[in-house]
Amino acid sequence: MPRANRLILAHIWVAVLAFGVAAAMAVMQALSRANLEVPYRSARMYYMSVTAHGVLMALVFTTFFIMALGYAVAQRENGEIRWLRFGWIMYGIAVTGTVMAAWAILTFRASVLYTFYPPLQAHPAFYIGLTLVVVASWGWCASIIASWRESRRRRGESPVSLAMHGTTANAMLWLLATIGVASEMLFQLIPWSLGWVKTVDPLLARTLFWFFGHPLVYFWLLPAYVIWYALVPREAGGKLFSEPLARVTFSLFLILSTPVGFHHQYQDPGIPAAWKLFHTFNTMAISFPSLVTAFTVVASLEVAGRLRGGKGLFGWIRALPWGNPVVSSVLFAGLLFMVGGFGGAINAAYVLNSVVHNTAWIPAHFHLTVGSAAALTFMGACYYLVPRIAGRELELGLLAKVQPFLWFLGMVLFSFTGHIAGLMGLPRRVFATDYAGAPQAEMWHTLTSVSALGGIVLFASAGCFVVVMIATLLTGKRTAVVPIEWAEPLSPPAGGFRKGIWDRLELWFVVAVVLVILAYAVPVYDLMHLTRYGSPGFKPF
């Protein structure tokens, strides 16, 4: 086994274990919101578990998987990973940070949810632990960018692979985005939780958080897009419909992902409306590359379906290999993402947001995006990657086959009811939904019950994934290590593609920085020059 593969598998292990714990936390929440009495049900337990679920799923599972995939892409590109020992040191830092944060959460010292808005104040280990994870991810970004530069040198006039291009765009996007959360942690939350400063400004903290929080969404999605573009067309038996356009979309994501954070703060005081509208405009712009991706990916799948003998307007859909979990998970991820994307356009709509903000609509929405488009794609990719990298056959293949179908069913039950309950005003993140018997709360009851049923189905699906992964990693029959194979473009020009302006990611990084300055410099400067009163910490949990 190549030495780099051990590092990749070490990341996969953390991702799978974090996912398993987080999924167990989630099923309890779904039951609790349906007002069902389950063992250990209490408000304190509920808010702790929401924190654990959010941090372990959205920050730990995703980040470790994305780092594993990035290393696998770099390994495929150059036959080795740059700075392997450095990679192990970063891995050690990330695991240490995860353990610190998990300890603080599971011992009820950090029930501040994964958005950790001050003046709710967690134990310093929570903030320091998460900061270590981010610092380690910077090391990963440096390694990816080094691999990208090496590939560019080696390939001369032809561009790097599409997967490498997308992965590098994501690493650069992450470096820019994490400036926000790192400043929040280092200048506000860590000194404040250690008692070195007495107060922090909660609005500035929210602004820094959402500077990071929206590009975080793209940090999750871009690796999924890499899989959709570069892996799935071939796995489905077809070709990538259009490679040059795919490169453009990744560069556009790098440019546009960050200057949009105020669309999470539409309901905040202290930020003038005009700046919120400016971020709305950028938000509409960032929908463009996602919608282009939708076209190219569906077109590639149609190519695959027709090559497999599918006929007629929709016959190609049935001809796709639905029994292959690598493909079916992406098909379901894409279907759910279409619904999630339209919901997202409603969240982003400056005016309509007042109807859905902080209601059950919001978690229902992001379980279709990060929870399906990203997480389900990652699970599907694991069925492909882990056997190849570990040099083992996939164990319990039947469970792997069923898993994406269960996820789809569970998500439809959980998420569609959540959207409706949100439109009916049910707040998100509440332990119980009965509001002391208020008549307005009765209409939510059926919906939260169906939602709970969805939670159980999702938990069964998550269980399948975790069992398949652990069985494969520990007991899968040993085979040769097989390299990843990327999809081929449908009609490449004679002599192959040539490098173009959209391949110059360093240029687009600079453009992204300029846009961020345009979007944030003035409102943050104005905020800092208000007469502000800081807040001391509160620990009501």
Binding site: R44, P269, M284, V430
Partner: protein, 176 residues
């Protein structure tokens, strides 16, 4: 760069759709004045009850006849716990908090705003007659799901303008 004809049609379609989305939002906000609550004003969260706007919570009518509501959020209650408002009348809500962040949400209306310590939130909306639940929609601690109050909206004609302010000063004193 060679782009397929279908792709080009799709890209133009998407571009036009997004332009329409943004255009209609900009039109609603710039021409018709629809904005999310974006009031810019700060307040010392330790001295909320000394502030004339919040020393008494509840409904008032200003010299020009406009209806105002002052609300203070705290773990885990909205003050006042109950209020009565006239239907089909613009009402301006002023909100702040003495401790952590809360979310003021009048269920099944577009009336909501984040309430952040150190800042004053404000929005104006009007209601149909009926009984409304006001919830907290931002996690604020272990009692978050119990944080609620009641709003009764009555037909304009039968609404009684509060003579003296709806005083909950006693509660406020206790909480100070």
């Amino acid at each position: 760069m060679k782009i397929d004809l279908y792709e080009r049609v799709w890209m133009w379609g998407v571009g036009v759709m997004l332009a329409l989305f943004f255009g209609s939002l900009a039109n609603a906000s710039i021409r018709h004045g629809f904005h999310p609550p974006s009031h810019v004003e700060t307040i010392d969260p330790k001295k909320v009850f000394q502030n004339p706007l919040f020393s008494r919570q509840g409904v008032t009518v200003d010299a020009g006849g406009a209806v105002h509501v002052s609300v203070v959020g705290m773990m885990f209650a909205w003050l006042p716990g109950e209020m009565v408002l006239p239907a089909e009348t613009p009402v301006t809500f002023h909100m702040t908090t003495v401790d952590v962040i809360h979310g003021f949400q009048i269920v099944r209306t577009n009336g909501q705003s984040m309430v952040i310590p150190g800042y004053v939130s404000q929005f104006t909306t009007s209601f149909k007659p009926g009984d409304y639940l006001i919830a907290c929609n931002e996690y604020c601690g272990v009692g978050h799901h119990t944080m609620a109050s009641k709003l009764k909206v009555v037909p304009k004609g039968s609404w009684q303008q509060p003579g003296a302010l709806t005083s909950t000063a006693g509660v406020a004193d206790a909480a100070r």
